[in-house]
Symmetry: C2
Subunit: 229 residues, 2 copies
DNA sequence: TTATTTTTATGTTTTACAGCACAAAGGTAC
DNA sequence: GTACCTTTGTGCTGTAAAACATAAAAATAA
């Protein structure tokens, strides 16, 4: 219970919306657990019963499409809520979620959240803002992924990861370590082409690679490649 | 003013959220005007000052991408709100909107809406649901447009228009009359390929074309083509 | 009406990228 | 340790769809 109190303290938007009674209830109904690397959190078709909150770690939200291909549509960083969209629109999940790396995730019954939102306009506004931002990003992504050429899409993905997860202390190495396949699934291309194009980026002095570590050397050039398509 | 009263009566989610005082204010600050066919409603980069409501007509929301290509990301049918996403996430518009056909559109200051949402949780919940549905569709669209082949994408677009605008009295002709270029911009392909692929659909007995009228003859087959990619 | 622009239609060429195939390197299990 | 599987890397081939080129038809303007 001590642990849960700490978790709740990290969720100010939610915590501040609670009466003492509700707070008790949230603490009672909330569960916290560790997901291992690559572990599934939920899958397309599942009934969304809980809102999730990533306390620590990194999570990818993706869709499996035609011909075994996968598209990562969003990534989640700590501390962020996720898994509530489907519940809010009364659908089953249309995406799947998995941990990029070991992740601690809190689950709160969605019915409880719904009740809170219907009583607390500030909390409602919080979710409106989150959804509005996500929708804008999704629309931008649709166009980027469909219209840009392979180099543009890969550059966009590298910058997307930088925006989402930031950099290490050196100020240029991405703070996330995706496989080449992850890069391909972010960028709407085959793994081969992700590998190939990353290599040419290295040759051109835009990035360096050390296993799965990606270090950005020339961000301006990447921006340009991403923008030009 | 009579006209505005009628318009407000068509917006139950909003109307019921208003106190008499606010109702007066909305009627006072709301403007209603007719947009001609293909007229711009707002453009990428504009500052969103009003929430819009399509009273009658049809509207397309689109993004201009690289190389002069355009992607229609959403379509709006009467009576539906639009143009609020950017305002809710404190951004300028990242999309543009134009009328598919002559359209009557009401504008309500977004600040007024924001105040109402912050006081009325039901209204907040209404927008949460709308945004959640839109985000789910946008994600599905991203994957459909990137992974499917040209026939699958075009079939998807035809079905998308059917879902969005429905059919005429005959039960099979789409109730919207997009140019071939519109079809291409919906389906992420060139106009030439939209024309070509529509023709093959006619040859295969899936649809008939009469100018811009699209009549669906074999919806099950279109569903299959859309699903298979 | 006639003129002019826009839209539709089709054929040809080019190319970006997927789809293999295969090998080396790196992890993981036993 | 050895065996096995996954990930990374590179070359080759085929093809889906863009790009280009005209031309006819339709819509719009004069």
């Amino acid at each position: 219970m001590k642990r849960k109190e700490e978790v709740l303290a990290k969720l100010p938007d939610l915590d501040s919306a609670l009466t003492p009674d509700e707070r008790e209830q949230v603490l009672d109904e909330m569960t916290v657990r560790l997901y291992r690397k690559n572990e599934f959190i939920y899958s397309e078709g599942d009934v969304p019963s809980h809102m999730l909150c990533l306390i620590s770690g990194k999570v990818k939200i993706y869709k499996d499409g035609v011909g075994g291909r996968t598209q990562i549509v969003r990534v989640v960083n700590a501390v962020e809520y996720f898994g509530y969209r489907a519940a809010f629109s009364d659908e089953n999940y249309v995406t799947s979620a998995a941990a990029f790396e070991p992740s601690v995730i809190a689950s709160i019954p969605i019915n409880l959240i719904r009740r809170l939102v219907l009583r607390n306009p500030q909390l409602g506004w919080f979710f409106i803002r989150r959804l509005a931002v996500a929708l804008g990003k999704s629309d931008a992504r649709t166009v980027g992924l469909t219209q840009k050429h392979i180099r543009g899409r890969l550059a966009e993905s590298i910058l997307f990861l930088k925006e989402s997860y930031g950099k290490e202390e050196d100020g240029q190495t991405l703070n996330v370590y995706p496989t080449r396949e992850d890069m391909a699934n972010l960028s709407n291309m085959t793994t081969s082409n992700a590998i190939r194009t990353l290599s040419t980026f290295v040759q051109e002095g835009l990035i360096t690679l050390d296993g799965r570590k990606i270090t950005i050397l020339d961000e301006a050039a990447l921006q340009k490649i991403s923008k030009m398509g």
